[in-house]
Symmetry: D3
Subunit: 172 residues, 6 copies
């Protein structure tokens, strides 16, 4: 019997309830979800505060109790869009369908002849990494936007202070 | 008898009538034109929608009937300006003169002791890659700015839709 | 309560019963095992026939019924031994101890002040990737050296023929 | 009317009569031949004495009088076999068929679902880059193995002395 | 007797009196100062006009008469913050303390458990690379902001004209 | 008054009395010696056990009492011989002459039109990095082949044991 797998990619800076909700939706359609952690080599930047390993932890803990068979795979950038799909395929278990709302991701997989579906956009305001990072910097409430387990990981690594530090860097 | 060769570099996103006109002007002064296709590794980006191979096609087809002996050579970025001239030289047939209006290109070749000439700037409004890409995104007339053969290549690869897709990408 | 994690790295070309046995031994000492898949960017080479994604599959299927909580994380080479430990740490969940018999791995982690244990070497003859690849090339029995699930993955991807093909490559 | 194109890749260190003969054979089956110059970033090494630009010159001059429509495209190594086919495709005009006797090249294109044909092996002894480089180092006759125009390019760049110099390098 | 060493890093585009003053302050606390020249691979850019070698010259000449034992070490970017501290350590003599006011540098060394001190910010207006480069472009007085020896190096390499050239580059 | 500078490059694994003697000879001809530390990114390998920073230390301490004005500059490999000379030039203070007996180095600088001199080969048997590393592995006398200060650096970092560890690594 063929195992049906979906691929879903994000930077997960951090992993939030929007991601959580989409992955749960995808899991209803397939047997397993392959979760690509994009820009895996980046961390300690204003837009990418967390390491790939920390993001693996967020995903694992957040999905622990959900009934979602998944793989969390760090994917390093190659800076070459034309080979990106091959790069993904080489790093992951085989999948039958890609779920994405990112127009570049959609385009690249479609040009490669791979089936792409667009998950319903998660509605609630603020379910975006940039909004969460903005709230962290402004000492506003960000915890309601992420799974509880993700907030724990971020606290453990002193993540909000890290984000504040690296956001204050001058470049000169 | 020494073959006189000129070097001309651009990103050609896409190749347009301004490039065409400059290359025809250069061809009057030399025996052969070496055309460097810059940022060869980039594609599927708002500023770099086309692959190097697609740009090779544009150049070949556009110059097919012109009496211009030329080489179209993809050149990948090294991200190290100090070695860029050596990189160019290693990837191309030897040349006697560089034609460029790009101040960085002019500076780098001059510091390397290579003869640089500045072609007359092509006058007609819109002869620039960024203007052409803007018109593509706005569904305005871009075809009048490129050789007919280039428009054909872009149609064949569904280039305008690709540009629209990759320009809509969000980064979060 | 602190989760106790061990790190174990290999190239897993392919994942064999020696690896399986070591990981089961490690699992008795810790709560979770982080399995690094080394040289993740390599494949289709005589010494590295399988992609990282294929190796993820081998590990997942082989460990499915074992009671081992684990993470399988592809790790790309950086070609810089001096930063290798930091690279590993950035790509993986935090771990308390490393298990390795590879002298370079042992040395690098020890110089970084990390606790390293050497698992008992698995005894049975042939439990090595190079022996298994040799048998594949010689049409000898390799299946007895790997978990049944790994043999299935290799059959699914026509792995033996791939190894034969890439081992016949001439370089000139 | 569709233009039928073939892809043929080699390192061309140097371009010899075996390559010449194969390309002429291929040219009978297609409209245009796309010639990939592999390991383009390498030069001044015992196995790779010539730059990509020098190899472009060899190919162009050797094929000048042959009735072969062709593109000579330098291809830099990515050191990732799993994305190599995508890399080739992004750097070249589209092609319908690949001609190769190299088992790795054959395998990679076949796994990508691309049509591969194996040209008849050229028979005459010595038609290999390594044999030609061996003769250069030993001051034996290598000129009979390459097109006359290639020998001229090599003489112009003092190629035999370069090969001797770089082959004498010690590594310590 | 243990040699006490401090590490101080900057891009030094160019080396100015603020840097000079900080290094002299640091030198009072330690035996030797290890000066890291960041983004060593960059040059001929608006924000990075000078090569690493030129910056080595500026530092050596400026500190020649100061009683400061120092090492000036070019450090290339790795674009991976998580391994940056290991990279620094591998390229430099061992040091006991880092002096920095850059929040990212402070954060990365602190996360690595290394002692970081923040030197008093130099007060005088204009002691920043970006202000000096702005003045160079505007033909305003920049010489008063750098050690005399640095101005000499910049004059020798025609540095102001280089900055003007590369700042005028268009990207299309 | 023009400062006359020479360039000398090696891997210095480790810095030995042969290097020491050559640099002292060079120093008689010029005002300053620029010492390039090649393959700077490598360490913890059988042929490259020491980091660039450790090699900087060896050179500085060994030359401390010699009356040799020098710069010790780590140089990372680019793996592109055709741009290597430009890379060197960008990372170092300007120099007038190169001293080398390495045929590849000699060739590359000569092709770039730079003056190269060959220092008299140091005679005493064993003055080579590979012989010293062999003796370290065999517990033979290596100390007599290096300056006393270099032996101290190697002892401080437990260098012989590191070499033994990394030389015992298996690759499978």
């Amino acid at each position: 019997m063929h195992m049906r797998r979906a691929f879903y990619i994000g930077r997960f800076q951090p992993f939030h309830l929007g991601h959580y909700s989409i992955i749960n939706d995808i899991a209803r359609d397939v047997d397993e979800v392959v979760i690509g952690i994009g820009s895996a080599q980046k961390s300690h930047e204003p837009k990418n505060p967390f390491t790939a390993g920390e993001r693996v932890m967020m995903i694992r803990h957040a999905l622990e109790d959900a009934d979602v068979m998944h793989y969390a795979i760090p994917i390093e950038d190659l800076q070459r869009n034309a080979v990106w799909v091959s790069h993904i395929i080489s790093m992951t278990p085989p999948f039958d369908v890609v779920y994405s709302n990112n127009p570049l991701v959609v385009r690249l997989f479609k040009e490669a002849g791979i089936n792409v579906k667009q998950p319903p956009m998660y509605q609630r305001e603020g379910y975006s990494g940039s909004e969460i990072r903005r709230r962290m910097l402004a000492d506003e409430n960000w915890r309601s936007l992420v799974p509880e387990e993700v907030a724990d990981v971020i606290d453990d690594i002193d993540g909000v202070n890290r984000l504040k530090s690296v956001s204050g860097s001058d470049a000169d």
